[in-house]
Amino acid sequence: MPDISVQIASLHLKNPVIAASGTFGYGQEYAGLVEDGVFGALVTKGISLLPAPGNPGPRIVETPSGMLNAIGLQNIGLEAFVSEKMPLLRACMTPVIVNFYGTTAEQYVELAERLSDVEGIAALEANISCPNIKQGGVSFGTDERMAAGITERIRAATRLPLIVKLTPNAADIARIARSVEQAGADALSLINTLTGMVIDPETRRPLLANITGGLSGPAIRPIAVRMVWQVCRAVRIPVIGLGGIMSAGDALQFLIAGACAVQIGTGLFVDPAIAGRVAAGIRQYMEAHGFERLDQIVGSLIV
């Protein structure tokens, strides 16, 4: 049986399929639908220092082969997360990666410090790429110097494996990736959503109250695969690929492009059983092609 386990710094995944931030809540919402342990790891909803109310609705709209969302990073805040959600997450077999964001560098640093003291967190994922909040978020992720600066400060604040989540809404994602690598990130995850917009011609109004939102789903997959391929050629640290994965074949594209693991978000909404299906599909593919370890596939693109 092929080995599909992955090591990312001190983070050990028994399979390379991770639940993406914002789609798996705080890990309990899918109880009864997603069996504990089928994901290699889960990434929590993005956590901020204080509770955040998020954006007014409508917050989501379906688009061709995708969806646009402008949730606005609604979350219960660090304190409630640690006291109410972490006890349940600690009881899971699945390694927990906590996604976090701030609107200033100081907030990122404080979050990283305080999360590092919490038992049961396997890694941190810094969100420097959300398109749906006015300050922080994506503005850190589109400027090479700001991305490096914030990564350096977070790096100094935590000994947990640090994954930095990159936005595709940058002029040159490979340059951002390199600067984040040099600043001390252990791994990168990409891509976050692409900024998009839908208008109802009848009312001449945007369908999202926030006007613009982040596009996810199969519609963005070819862009995500391309960006993962570009970034993997530019950095040496592990890359986690995401963007519209619906099947094992989709996940394999990211692995072949160079990602060592994948995240699934929108696909989980469509099929809660997706993690097991994708992991089994990767195994079958490896058996059929005579691969024994995942690293034999990673970056194996033939051109």
Binding site: G22, E29, G57, E62, P218, V270, P272, A273
Partner: protein, 262 residues
């Protein structure tokens, strides 16, 4: 009652009027579902439509569930053609459902706007079977008589039915909530239940507040996950802990109307 992901089978698909579909499904794991709960179902295997669609239960039977669906786009058009035996990928039951009135409640008034009738049919059937002492009045609002005629067959005859249509071709001309001005509706003092467009629910909530009577509204929203994870379906509410965005899928879809229309 745990939520489960499974395959249901179509027993019958029947068009009512021109754009309403009644689906009967065999789904053994949904027999304990409550009125006001909903399911998320996949319309097809592909990416168009991509996301599951939420549908309120219009009945829970001895072998499964029934849905009442308004044909609005490609997805619902496809559902209208599902043959007997067709496999449907369903997650459910989801949401909180209606809180049943206490035993001995003398009267319930159910206010439906168009296809918002679906969960109220489920509730009316439950009340008929479990609260025989409760007189149930159904107020149905629709745009036209044709729309009305497509829905009426699903209303249990145990309900006293009053109708309002925009064009006046059935019942009274005007809004369904105008029917609340009839003093007879408030005697004996009822519990109100509503499902329909937000302005209708607002008018219902206002009426209930003026009369000092309990009122529960079932909300509709675009949803992605249906289980409370994505926070895509939230609406502003005044909760006991202050103003907050509440999730229609997991905190609702049924709310005390005072939370949503303070």
């Amino acid at each position: 009652m745990t939520t489960h992901h499974g395959i249901a089978r179509i027993v019958t698909t029947a068009l009512s009027g021109t754009d309403t579909v009644h689906l009967v499904l065999e789904a053994p794991w949904l027999l304990q579902a409550r009125p006001g709960q909903f399911v998320m179902l996949r319309v097809g295997d592909g990416t168009a439509p991509l996301l599951r669609r939420p549908f309120s239960l219009c009945a829970v039977t001895h072998s499964g569930i029934e849905l009442l669906v308004k044909i609005r786009g490609n997805g619902t058009e496809r559902m209208a053609r599902w043959p007997a035996g067709h496999a449907v990928d369903i997650i459910g039951p989801l949401g909180n459902g209606f809180q049943p009135p206490p035993a001995g409640t003398a009267s319930a008034v159910l206010v439906a706007g168009g296809i918002g009738l679906a969960p109220l049919v489920c509730l009316a059937r439950w009340l008929r079977d479990n609260r025989p002492e409760c007189a149930v009045r159904m107020l149905l609002g629709a745009r036209t008589g044709t729309d009305c005629d497509a829905l009426i067959p699903f209303i249990p005859p145990s309900c006293a039915l009053q109708i309002a249509t925009d064009d006046g071709s059935r019942g009274t001309r005007g809004l369904v909530t105008d029917l609340l001005e009839d003093a007879a509706v408030l005697r004996p003092a009822p519990v109100f239940y509503g499902c329909g467009p937000m302005p209708m629910l607002q008018a219902l909530a206002n009426c209930a507040r003026r009369a000092g009577l309990p009122c529960f509204v079932s909300l509709e929203a675009h949803m992605a996950c249906g289980v409370g994870a994505c926070l895509g379906c939230t609406v502003p509410a005044i909760t006991p802990r202050g103003p907050a965005q509440v999730r229609v899928c997991a905190d609702g879809p049924v709310f005390d109307s005072r939370l949503i229309f303070p």
